[in-house]
């Protein structure tokens, strides 16, 4: 129960930080105080009208951003802030995270589908083609991380890194996991849902408060994802001197910055090529990661 405020504090800080990092990375200098720029942007969107398209699937159009954000919260609630301090310290933590990823694909697809407009529709379908195999990758690397912990709970995975972080022990894990993070938070080289070649893809038709909600949900998913990555590969709350939640926040922030940088500085290849690369190059790499983790974990 006490962890719920922590979850939302981390989400708020993460959203603000990544919005700021995004602005900073784009190399634009804004005359009005940079620190408040995300808030000004939010205020502008709030003052705009939310346009409806012709006969949209209204219910799903509204539900999909809400579901997206809710899934980010659900994913973050299995992440421990300190020993035994998580909203839901479930034994099946990484399975729940996997379910969140799967449902995120559904939410993004529905967002593209429900506008009844061509560009969002293509974005939604294309996202599914990339999201599904990318999800397989993340499952394999998470299972690899669960091997030394002998448990599927995120807390146990963090505890298993007391001697050595997983990022060193399983060097392939984090890069593969980051790719999935880019995919499910719709950015950079894995942004097949909301890409510029589709004029914003699933978000091409949304404006005003709706666009604000979608943006918040995307950044919330990015934050939840970074916190998960920090826990599974960077030792989560472990660290000297400072209390656990602070360490988790610091590591999350570091991963957020890495993700923002990657998202803006890698080219996106056409979807068919990416799909083939995921299955034929990256999936075998995740098998290799599993084998490395397996051999390393043998008693």
């Amino acid at each position: 129960m006490t962890a719920i405020p922590l979850v939302f504090a981390l989400l708020a800080a993460g959203i603000w930080l990544s919005a700021l990092a995004e602005r900073f990375a784009s190399g634009r200098r804004f005359p009005s105080g940079t620190v408040f720029a995300p808030l000004l942007q939010a205020a502008r969107l709030l003052s705009q009208q939310s346009v409806r398209t012709e006969h949209p699937d209204g219910l799903n159009w509204v539900l999909s951003p809400i579901a997206y954000l809710t899934l980010a919260v659900a994913g973050l609630s299995v992440v421990p802030f300190a020993p035994e301090l998580a909203v839901a310290p479930l034994d099946t933590g990484i399975v729940l995270w996997g379910a969140c990823e799967a449902l995120t694909i559904v939410a993004v697809f529905l967002h593209g589908w429900s506008a009844n407009s061509m560009l969002p529709l293509i974005g939604g379908y294309r996202f599914v083609a990339i999201g599904l195999p990318a999800m397989l990758l993340s499952m394999f690397v998470l299972i690899a991380a669960a091997l030394p912990a002998q448990s599927l709970s995120v807390g146990a995975i963090v505890e298993s890194q007391r001697s050595l972080w997983n990022v060193v022990r399983q060097p392939l894990g984090l890069p593969l996991f980051l790719l999935l993070g880019l995919a499910i938070s719709l950015r950079g080289p894995m942004d097949y849902g909301d890409a510029a070649d589709l004029s914003g893809g699933t978000a091409a038709e949304v404006s005003g408060p709706h666009r604000l909600a979608w943006g918040i949900a995307r950044l919330a998913m990015l934050t939840a994802f970074a916190a998960m990555g920090a826990s599974v590969f960077l030792g989560g709350y472990l660290g000297p001197w400072l209390p656990g939640p602070v360490w988790l926040a610091l590591k999350t922030a570091a991963l957020l910055l890495v993700l923002t940088w990657l998202g803006r500085n890698l080219a996106r290849m056409p979807a068919p090529r990416m799909m083939a690369a995921l299955w034929l190059v990256l999936l075998p790499l995740s098998f290799l990661d599993l084998v490395i983790a397996g051999v390393e974990a043998l008693p």
Partner: protein, 304 residues
Amino acid sequence: MAARLARAPGISLQHSIRHAAILLVAGRYRDTDRSALCRLHDQLPQPRATAWWGAAPLTDVHDPVTIAEGDDPVPQLRRLDRDLLRGARASEPDWLPDEPPNAWRGKGDHGQGGKGMMGGVPYGRPMAMMGEEMRDGLMLDAMTVTIGPFLRTLPPGLSLELTLQGDVIQQARVATPAYSASGIASEPLLRAARILELLGLPDLARRARISAARGDDDEGLVAAARRRGALLALPADLADVRARLDAALRRGAAPDPGEECLVDRLAGMEWQSALLRVASFDPATLSRIAPAAEPEEGEEEKAA
């Protein structure tokens, strides 16, 4: 003109009109594009405004904001934006009549305008019907859409009528040709910027536009594009696009694409690849392979 905007702080050009607040009409436009311009304007969310930069306002527009061609539009745009947000300037009404594309109300079993499974015009539009497929032979719905003339990822003025099955183009037709930009020295960099944007590299695209506006040569541009995988991301069947991107970044001459018509080259291509190919042609080639009917100067962009 678009290149000059890229340098301006506080202005960001949007890909979708739904994300913008102000429609900036930059340069002269063709008479044939008037209806597209009106359609685009009406899609803006309220509160909204239009600025005419070196362009003649449509005759029936009330209280137009005009900017002379030689002026810097940024201060005026910022003032306009502020006035809109404060409510000092009223939001513009629709320019097109408030009526559905087809009359439908009250028809059909539930007043939805359609009858049977696929018949009629439910909610004002018909449904897509089955069409031939050229790649895997599955007969599913073929959808015909017109994109452009003011889509940011296409050369300005170019409008394509595409028949799609999923995201693969079955048939393409040039609805209106691109505005001629042959005389402009910075054109290769602007074209490279469009390709980079399609590859998901907005920052590099902006760098190319700034370099185009300054008129200097950004030596590091090719290396930066290479580092970010812009050339690597293009698959082997887009090798011609890769060569043209490389040439455009160096402001060199592109290899000759041959005599084949643009629309024939697009058939069977996936969406992103097709747009990449369209964006990679230089204006002279484009006017040859995508036949131009009435060459005219001008550019249009939208800004927020």
